[in-house]
Amino acid sequence: MKSLDKYYLEATDRWQTLQTSSVPVLYVGAATCGRAAGAGDVIKRLQAEIRDKHVDVKLVEVGCLGLCCFEPLVVVHKPGSPQVCYGKVDPDKSAGILERYVLGTDPCAKWALGTTTDGRLDGVGKLSEHPMMTGQVRHVLRNCGVIDPKDMGHYMARDGYRGFLRALEVGPDKTLEEVKKSGLRGRGGAGFPTWQKWQFCRKAAGEPKYVICNADEGDPGAFMDRSIMEGDPYSVLEGMAIGAFVIGAENGYIYVRGEYPLAINNLSIAIEQTRSMGLLGDDILGSGFSFNLEIVKGAGAFVCGEETALIASVQGDIGSPRQRPPYPAQAGLWGKPTNINNVETWSNVPAIIRQGGDQFAGSGTDRSKGTKVFSLVGKVKNTGLVEVPMGTTMRQIVFDIGGGPQKKRQFKAVQSGGPSGGCIPASLLDLPIDFDKLQEAGAMMGSGGLIVMDERTCMVDVAKYFLAFLVDESCGKCTACREGVAQMHNVLVRICEGDGRDGDIELLEQLGSYVKETSLCQLGGTAPNPVLSTIRYFRDEYETHIREKKCRAGVCKSLVRFVIDAEACKGCGLCLRDCPAEAVSGEKQEPHQINAELCVQCGVCYEDCPFDAVTVE
């Protein structure tokens, strides 16, 4: 304990020193999203500049702030000035910022997104007042993009492991009581009360018991868990340690998909550091409680996000789910009681224990407490990670935080919950988001993916896209999912190709409800959701596809004919230049035409036209 206290002091001191550093510090968002946008090159360039210029500037790689559409992000700490966050930084810009602001006086306000600490800087607003940040409440993401995820000291300085220490102090019963008070529900999708899950496992007969972190984030367009693991891995480890302490488990596994190498790397480092601190391992801090953690890499099967399939995969078997009961809490890993929670759930736990369940329960709705992290993507201006209290409306997220659809297009729907979720139409935009409300609307919370669609999205095509994904990802074990989803996909393909028949919608509904109630696991149990919810809210689009053989959104190639509105066309020639089939003709400044026989319906002209003169007939 003494050495731990000393470490807290030392870490806090180090953190404070960094915050009030007398030399400039550059924080670069180096999570996967940042790297994909070019953060690696920015770091290299900055390192070279710092070396060449012989200046005393510190460079710290941090996680993701969540402002993904503005990546790469660089936050500059200049002694005596408030910290400034810059967005869309390329190597040249980074050199410019170093030269002009860090070493000079020009804050480069046009590149700045806002200040992240108190104090004023000319021409730069507060980041918290940035439209994408207002309305957000950062609990889970509080460390992401702020601390160095490879330095445990940063986490410890920000009250790291205080929750775990408190749990050790008050004992498992009171700890469980706090979780119950908090009303925390599983963030993986189904929203099962976490305390209840823990209690089942805790009471289950059988030794040893296991805890597992489900980090097999497979939904297309979802990356909350990845960002947490990359930006704040310690919170996951601490949450698991608390859970294991309550349940009485001595071993834990983190099942991460192999596609997340950076998350695996950061988690591995975090486990190593935590172990060397004596917060993992045998007889932790002399409490008698032992806990060991291991990372298991998944091979990227969507179905392995399902509990029983995940367990099978950890055991080295084929990742196929099995019929429940018995539930994992009774007979899970190696046939022993096992508790599985999602990354975000675990990550929520330390703060609940540290600050008490009541504080957590203070935000959110009646039956859904706390905050939820969403990954906002699709045809929306501001994409990225968004953490809002439960009960926030879809409109707030899409329009206030997300800035609404791009190019002033008409909003059409939000797909919530990934392939297992459903589409929420504009009419339900004012729905307060929580587990139950989404379920009622035919969608689901899922892990928190939100895909925004506008008028140019074909809902039949969306359903087809998700089903194609699910056909590929179905494990193939049960007839309902393997054959049923494939046949639903077949029907959707035929509708999109203009071969739809009367009765196809009813057939889809019939198949959909069959697959839903007959499938073995929740992959099949939710697979028809994209189809059923789009039929529910956009039945007319299906009917147009089947009866009129038309796709108004201009997506289903067989059902689209592009024409140029002669009145709107200004004869700019963009479409003429880009058409791969040379189907567009027309003189400059004159209205252009599309030769329907040559047109391959690629839609390039439709996308290109700055005057929206290309229309779908």
Partner: protein, 596 residues
């Protein structure tokens, strides 16, 4: 016990049982495909879904894999269940349109057409991906020779790395359990699949390692063949014990020696037929359509390998012409048995009738040496066969059987017309010589019963004591003694039984008087005699005077044990043992008498 309601009917089951088990108890039929009582359930095919109405999470669940719970209320054929089942069948039919099992099930559920495209091409096979074979191979057989490859609609049953692996035992259990008959173990096994020949059907079909030896066996109970049983081969499986409701299967049972004290023994070990492949001219073993009379007997039997349908082993078609060859090895001095096998004439005549019964327009020929139909009504029977033209009888022998096309050419002599004959037959039936059961020599030496050069056991006297042997208490019945037909065997068995009863029904045993006696006055107690006595009849006896002082220890012969062989008498140096009736002086007198 767990109480639940199935279709309104109360059932009680043990904890751990599934809804399917409970439904069976309630007498409710639930269709299954991927379920096998010996294999842990998977709930993969979803055909067995039932509806939980109350007492559990309401909804459809697979009855084969869902544990019965207290207070559950189950509907096995609600509209919701039937709708789901119909859809499952439609989907399976789209996948495996050619599978008869699925077609039948679909028809039973009133499915006439499927509203979506049939899967054709590679995946459009009979395999419905239920995975029963894979589970069986991994969890029961313990070989893990087959597995799934790929996922979703591309899933297929394959081997690890699509390689034939030596871990495959070639047991064929996968094909045995496959509900649609879609799996061929030969596709996976690197070694030829060796089926276990069914001994009772002369190896014409196969059997499982656990099997009934033959219909109406006594006792009529299955036995496990350790050589082939996977449990004994790999330590896995154990499926039969799992599913036996009586818990009657015990793998620890071993063969044991049973010792019984008996007063009489009847030897009735029967006969075998000799292997006719030693006579190459008949082509047995070379041509599949050359069969023995015993094989023919099984082929036409209703409980035989083809359920009584007579078909050629070469092409599965009924033989339109058939030739019966008698005396194969019998009455053959050179390379054969000099004796007549006695039963062949009659059973061949019967076989010709059975043949005509199976193949109405077929033609039968019989090559014979003599028709020996001695016995009550026997000759009339054979004459009827000839007269009714069931078969053409040809007196003569066959020199060669050879193949031409898909026919067997039988070349022989008809000695009555003095011509050479060649018949194009589709099947040839040989009547091989009868020989005693193998192992008869070991048995006869144990029983001290004599046997002839062919191994047939010797009676005590050919005319006067035909059922006895020279060993008291051992009697003979049936073909262990000589080739016999059924009435003769039954008669001899009856005689042997009454002889045995005659022996053991007495309270006292009479014995021969010719046993050894010790002259105690001259015996010096060397006990050489004790070593040569095969019956342990000789032991020591202490002679004492009236005061009880030990005078001498001499040999003593137990009258009950002594058989009177005289080995002791010939061994005794002091000439102190004599065999009554064969005393030295008697024998010397006999020797002297010869020379008088």
């Amino acid at each position: 016990m767990i109480k639940l309601t199935i279709d309104g009917q109360q059932v009680e089951v043990e904890p751990g049982r599934t809804i399917l088990d409970a439904a069976k108890l309630a007498g409710r039929e639930i269709p299954t495909l991927c379920h096998h009582p010996a294999v842990p359930p998977a709930g993969a095919c979803r055909i067995c879904v039932v509806e939980i109405v109350a007492g559990g999470r309401p909804g459809l669940v697979p009855s084969c894999a869902y544990p019965a719970q207290d207070g559950m209320e189950i509907q096995t054929c609600s509209e919701r269940v039937l709708q789901s089942r119909r859809m499952t069948l439609q989907l399976l039919l789209a996948r495996s349109p050619g599978s008869e099992v699925i077609q039948e099930m679909a028809a039973e559920h009133g499915i006439k057409e499927i509203p979506f495209p049939k899967q054709t091409g590679e995946s459009g096979d009979d395999c419905i991906m239920c995975g029963l074979c894979v589970r069986l191979c991994q969890q029961i057989v313990g070989a893990s020779a087959i597995c799934f490859d790929g996922r979703g609609p591309d899933r297929k049953v394959s081997t690890p790395y699509a390689d034939r692996s030596d871990v495959c035992l070639g047991c064929g259990a996968c094909a045995f359990v496959c509900p649609t008959g879609a799996i061929d173990p030969a596709e996976y096994c690197p070694n030829p699949i060796e089926k276990i020949p069914n001994e009772f059907n002369c190896g014409l079909d196969s059997r499982t390692p656990i099997h009934l030896p033959f219909p109406q066996a006594v006792p009529n109970k299955p036995l496990i063949d350790r050589e082939n049983c996977i449990r004994f081969k790999t330590g896995g499986c154990g499926a039969c014990a799992d599913i036996c409701p009586a818990g009657a299967i015990n793998y620890d049972m071993t063969d044991e020696f049973v010792e019984e004290d008996v007063g009489a023994i009847i030897v009735a070990t029967g006969y075998e037929i000799m292997d006719p492949s030693v006579y190459e001219e008949y082509g047995y073993g070379r041509y599949p359509d050359v069969v023995t009379s015993l094989e023919f007997e099984r082929m036409v039997s209703a409980s035989g390998p083809s359920n009584g349908e007579l078909t050629r082993l070469s092409n599965g078609k009924p033989p339109k012409s058939i030739v019966f060859l008698q005396c194969i090895g019998s009455r053959r001095e050179k390379n054969g048995k000099p004796y007549c096998s006695k039963i062949c004439c009659m059973y061949t005549a019967k076989h010709t009738i059975l043949y005509k019964h199976k193949v109405h327009d077929g033609q039968a020929f019989v090559f014979f040496m003599d028709v020996r139909a001695g016995g009550k009504n026997y000759d009339q029977f054979v004459r009827r066969v000839v007269k009714e033209k069931q078969a053409t009888y040809l007196r003569g022998r066959v020199s060669k059987v050879y193949a031409r096309g898909d026919k067997l050419m039988v070349r022989g002599a008809d000695t009555l017309s003095g011509t050479q004959i060649e018949i194009a037959a589709e099947m040839v039936v040989l009547a091989p010589a009868l020989v005693p059961s193998s192992g008869i020599r070991d048995l006869s030496q144990k029983l001290r019963v004599g046997y002839d050069e062919h191994g047939f056991l010797l009676e005590a006297h050919p005319k006067l004591r035909p059922v006895d042997t020279n060993t008291a208490g051992v009697f003979l019945a049936g073909a262990c003694h000589s080739p016999k037909d059924i009435p003769e065997s039954v008669a001899q068995a009856g005689a042997a039984a009454s002889k045995a009863l005659g022996l053991i029904c007495h309270t006292r045993l009479s014995r021969e008087p010719t046993i050894g006696i010790v002259d105690e006055s001259s015996c010096n107690g060397c006990f050489e005699c004790e070593g040569v006595c095969a019956y342990g009849a000789i032991g020591p006896r202490e002679l004492t005077d009236k005061k009880g002082n030990l005078l001498a220890t001499v040999a003593f012969i137990n009258e009950g044990l002594c058989q009177g062989c005289g080995a002791c008498a010939a061994t005794c140096r002091s000439k102190s043992i004599e065999v009554q009736g064969y005393r030295d002086d008697q024998l010397f007198a006999a020797i002297n008498a010869i020379h008088r």
